[in-house]
Symmetry: C2
Subunit: 599 residues, 2 copies
């Protein structure tokens, strides 16, 4: 039985027939690459994901990391083997500079490769993925010495990384973090405070753990402008780079999640001083970049991180879809509508229109989500390597406005795909003897972390569509209009779809203006989550029209399936936005006016 992670056929269609990523090899950074090297790394990724990650996905869920009697984190041995295999294959370093031992892969190819691991085993994949995110931040903002010291061992998987942002009292509102960093005469800092939700915060998978920690330097400005970023290693290094003494970081507890159980999730205390005022003066930390710019550095990577969450949600939806499809083809149940003779033999589930509806919905969500995630990943490449400054700026602007959607839309709809995958399986799908219930539990994290759904809505309507005189929405509109033009030229069904898309986008733009003319920012933003959802469906309809154009004039089941899924999306999904936009246009105050006492 194949691992049923993602469809390689679909990936090839999106990467080559649609996005034509091989054209990136004309750019200096990717000059060593070719279609062949891209194919090779995709194959490598798929194979390692299928052979080393997927097989222990259930075991990692059923035997989540726990605190051993000696205070160490105990986990099943397959996790360490998988992480080592991943690192040894060079996949942590995939996107990084050759000089650091990397492959200098385009972001879009790298993210496609990593999606196999999200589909195979999010619990185990989180260890290398957090390390990649951490290393990305240090390469961008750390000193050359910091890169040498911390990033190089991460590339090899000898060190693994974390991100330490939240605190027990602070999730979405990072302005309120309480962790302090006291400057020392030697230029280092001593950190004290408690960090919450730290994935991969403690384990024995690597020689060291490189924590990237947000903290406040006393005397800095209040709020988000007074936050700095620090490297705080689990083990301090000696002068020669060898491992020295343990830093002052204590594991004070594990969080136990509904899903994502395979990733140890910790509460960490930095500086025992937090507990014993007379104790040591904190954990040793090294400032990254300049003081008070920590949040800005973090946000410089935010687009990529959030698109990554969306791709992760998509991958979980995708593998669930493939599992449901396989099950629907082999499971016999019931008879065709109208078959009166009880002796008629049962038919495969897929023969029932309602089952095909559920499969088609899943297909439209997961292939739409994958298209959006890869499109945004390509924008990261364009933002960095497009030839002209204008193209780079345009890519950056479009990526900015798409990011909250690329994060939240798959988190909502590919979770719904997982629910439909359970439904196709019936009672079996609800059991842990099958795979799909775990995908559903795992995926439920994605609307929460890296900025909740509500935060994404505020980001989109409150910032992204209005910044720079509405440049974000304008660039999005131009991009959609370009697709619409090509679809009109193609004629026929693509042209019909184009009319629907253009009308929906025009309405969105009109509603945006109306919302911002309300004269009361509370009213404008009251239903920003609804705005986010409407914009999301419109953007994904655009992604489907793009796919229809890439498949245009091509014969065969694969292309016919793409067209049918697009039809589904335009007929069953895009119309959902009508009532949402009507509501927004009415400047409704129902939620705003709801007095807490009335609940």
């Amino acid at each position: 039985m194949p691992a049923l992670l993602l469809s390689r056929r679909d990936l090839d269609f999106l990467l080559h027939e649609w996005l034509d990523v091989t054209r990136l090899t004309a750019r200096e950074r990717f000059a060593e690459h070719s279609r062949e090297t891209f194919d090779a790394v995709l194959e490598l990724g798929e194979r390692i994901a299928a052979d080393h990650f997927a097989p222990h996905n259930k075991a990692n869920d059923a035997n989540e990391p726990r605190l051993g009697p000696d205070g160490r984190v105990v986990m099943i041995p397959e996790v360490g083997k998988a992480v080592r295999t991943f690192a040894e294959a060079g996949l942590i370093a995939g996107e990084f500079d050759e000089e650091l031992g990397g492959m200098q892969l385009p972001n879009v190819v790298s993210k496609a490769v990593l999606s196999f691991f999200h589909a195979a085993n999010v619990g185990t994949a989180a260890y290398p993925f957090l390390t990649i995110a951490n290393a990305n931040l240090l390469v961008a903002h750390g000193s050359p010495e910091q890169v040498d010291t911390w990033v190089r061992p991460m590339m090899e998987g000898r060190f693994l990384g974390t991100m330490c942002l939240s605190e027990p009292q602070v999730g979405s509102s990072l302005a309120d973090i309480a962790t302090r960093a006291e400057p020392q005469p030697d230029g280092t800092y001593r950190l004290t405070g408690t960090k919450m939700w730290i994935s991969a915060g403690e384990h024995d998978l690597s020689d060291n753990i490189v924590h990237l920690v947000l903290a406040k330097i006393p005397g800095g400005p209040p709020g988000v402008k007074g936050i700095s970023l620090f490297i705080v290693p689990k083990v301090l290094l000696n002068e020669d780079g060898s491992l020295g003494e343990r830093n002052d970081i204590a594991l004070v507890g594990l969080n136990h999640k509904m899903g994502y159980r395979g990733t140890v999730n910790t509460v960490l205390n930095f500086g025992e001083g937090a507990h014993t005022p007379g104790g040591r003066a904190g954990a040793v930390g090294y400032l990254v970049g300049e003081p008070h710019k920590g949040l800005a550095y973090m946000f410089s990577m935010m687009n990529e991180a959030r698109v990554g969450v969306g791709l992760g949600a998509t991958a979980l939806g995708y593998t669930g879809y493939l599992h449901a499809l396989e099950y629907a083809k082999v499971r016999l149940q019931g008879r065709p509508v109208g078959a009166k003779d009880p002796a008629t033999p049962p038919v495969p589930l897929i023969e029932h229109a309602d089952v095909r509806r559920m499969l088609l919905a899943q297909k439209s969500y997961v292939e739409g989500g994958l298209a959006l995630g890869l499109y945004c990943s390509l924008l990261v490449d364009e933002e960095r390597t497009a030839e002209s400054e204008a193209e780079r700026e345009r890519a950056a602007t479009l990526l900015d406005v798409l990011t909250p959607i690329a994060k939240s839309w798959p988190s909502q709809w590919c979770l719904e795909a997982n629910s439909l995958a359970i439904q196709v399986h019936g009672g079996y799908g609800y059991t842990r003897e099958y795979n799909v219930e775990q995908f559903y539990r795992d995926n439920r994290l994605n609307p929460i972390h890296e900025g909740t759904h509500g935060i994404q809505g505020l980001d989109l309507l409150g910032r992204k569509v209005v910044l720079n005189d509405g440049a974000g929405l304008r660039v999005l509109g131009e991009s959609i209009a370009a697709t619409v033009r090509r679809a009109r030229e193609a004629g026929g069904e693509p042209a019909d779809m184009a009319e629907g898309l253009q009308a929906a986008f025009d309405r969105l733009a009109e509603v945006t203006v109306r919302l911002w003319s309300a004269g009361d920012v509370e009213v404008t933003l009251a239903n920003s989550s609804v705005y986010l959802e409407a914009a999301g469906h419109i953007v994904v309809a655009w992604m489907w029209l793009e796919q229809v154009l890439a498949a245009h004039g091509k014969d065969g089941d694969f292309y016919t399936g793409k067209r049918q899924a697009a039809r589904y999306f335009f007929r069953y999904e895009l119309p959902r936005t009508g009532p949402q936009l009507d509501l927004l246009a009415s400047l409704d105050r129902t939620t705003l006016d709801m007095d807490p006492a009335w609940f």
Copy 2:
């Protein structure tokens, strides 16, 4: 901290201010009852649910029943204590005749009481609930001797009951069951076959387990018309009624679910003959009623069972909502929109409009679902005890058409409420350290069991709205029209809502005619799940208008909250039906035409 199960204030509003259930005491069956006895049993139920069920809900989930080394089912001791307390309080017998030791409660009051247990601990509540369902079936269709032998001990909790319908190869399509029942010269039967998904199928909570088993008597008609119903006890009884030898029923495995973990779910083999052809000739069973009528008997209780699933889904949504509301009031996070000064102190979550939106959505789903469930439960009473034959028939018809909605709508939207409750909690909500993630896992079963969402859609569009020349839809339309008339008389906002409701229902009726004029039953039924969802939202809008009328002219936060939740439902929810009805009216063939090869 209160148990946060259901709002007693809301229950009192629905039962008394709206449904006026005390008027039932004018009927002979309920003549011994009064508002005081209803209140007393609600209080009793709430207290036992809070004190004996809720406290071990998490423990029962974390320590699910398992197979002990001796092949017995091991579970935490709190389960047995809770079930005994429930039985000793007379709650199993609540609805049953006084002659059987019951309280002769109206169904609507009994179901309200039981909802506290669904909210508190579905895993443990399933044991007495299945027993009630089993006993109901035997009282309706068993012989007086069978009632004496099996129902009386169930009333006291000495015996517990199960329902054995599904088989490993058969879920939704019961026509295909393979379990056989061979008649014996002494009038008993010997059953051989394997039953799947048997909740409470094996345990030591009671002296005996009364399995109600669907099986085929050889030589009977094929399909659903050849299915008979049998009592198959775990332990055979001696002539004097004392416990005798074990019947030939083997526990062959446990299923491990995503939620509902506290209820042991089993695979049972009836008759070792299934394994060893030379062995014994099957498990001893006693035919209930006449041969080949088993499915009809089962379906005679189906409305009640399905409304019960909907109420269970509602109760889980309701407790999740109350947990989220409590959390949103105390958790400080973020600042009001527009607060620029970072020194502004954080505010409770409930101060954010988007959080109030999520709470209002939950309120509209769970209070709407509860209204629908209680309304249908009252129809069960009307069907049985209304004064005139015409009233009883009308109630039966309305209950028939509402049942698929009362089952599926809360299973979908109160599950969504659970998802929103997680979202309000942020990262904490995703952890097992908090309560809401379990509600979400538990509730995900409800769209599957007792007929999937897809089955309910076929039942509604394929049967219920067309039977008897469309009597179901006609009676529903008359009932809605009566509410609309009262709302118009009330004027103002209720009258506005009435216009929206009437227009939506008219459209539904029109679309129903159009679907049935298609001339191709495959096209008619292709999107019956979409029809089910649209009809559901319209019916719940009706329930909200009914609540608005019951609250009309009344002051105070409670009534104001009802009005605001109704506004939310009419503005944010009811409009969802527009695109659904448009799609249905277009006789769309997208899902029908999707060729399996195109996936």
